[in-house]
């Protein structure tokens, strides 16, 4: 699934490790999410949305 995670993270100047720490996941998981190799669970998607103060559908594109 395509997503805006790399853009949102870059806007804030966070590294993947920074975002991983904020989300409570490993850096490897953030990397896989950004590359669209792994789709997050609903609880993790909500945590991501809260972290960036966006809606889930603003970050993730199911058509991607």
């Amino acid at each position: 699934m395509k997503n805006a995670l790399p853009v949102l993270r870059a806007e804030r100047g966070w590294s993947q490790a920074d975002l991983a720490e904020r989300l409570g996941v490993s850096r490897q998981t953030v990397n896989s999410l950004e590359r669209g190799r792994y789709d997050p669970s609903l609880p993790l998607a909500f945590r991501i949305a809260r972290t960036f103060d966006r809606r889930i559908e603003d970050i993730f594109d199911p058509e991607g």
């Binding site: 720490e21 989300l23 409570g24 996941v25 490897q28 998981t29 896989s32 190799r37 993790l44």
Partner: protein
């Protein structure tokens, strides 16, 4: 970030340590098995001692299994949990038909490789490694 979330950050290091512990525990079990067989063949290890050695040698694997379960349930994040579970599933679905095929070929009198207890112990461990490697490749 709460305590549950912060545990996930070091999950990979925990996983590597636990894998090392598991391999070590498996090695202890295999060495115990080797000593038991040598002792039985050489006649210098009485049956009661063989039984005791068999139980003691398997104990580290039981501890490792408990630690593995705790790591899987509490410390790994959701993607790493999925990778480990897919690795275990891969090993299970492959090991059962392989074992069944081996038993059937052996029963039919066809040539089969001679499998010792260490081979039987190592095969699922090897299949789990392969399964985890394939899952890592899929998600990374």
């Amino acid at each position: 970030m709460n305590a549950t979330e912060s545990r996930h950050v070091d999950a990979r290091a925990s996983g590597s340590r636990l894998y090392g512990l598991y391999v070590l525990a498996l090695a202890v079990c295999l060495i115990g098995n080797l000593v038991m067989r040598q002792g039985a063949q050489g006649g210098w290890l009485p049956p009661a001692a063989q039984l005791l050695l068999g139980l003691v040698a398997a104990a580290p694997l039981i501890v490792a299994a408990f630690l593995f379960w705790r790591l899987l349930r509490r410390d790994l994040d959701e993607m790493l949990q999925r990778i480990v579970l897919e690795g275990l599933a891969f090993a299970l679905v492959l090991y059962i038909p392989l074992a069944a095929l081996y038993v059937n070929l052996r029963t039919a009198g066809a040539w089969t490789p001679r499998l010792d207890p260490p081979d039987i112990l190592l095969t699922p461990a090897l299949l789990v490694c392969v399964g985890i490697a394939l899952a890592i490749r899929r998600y990374r």
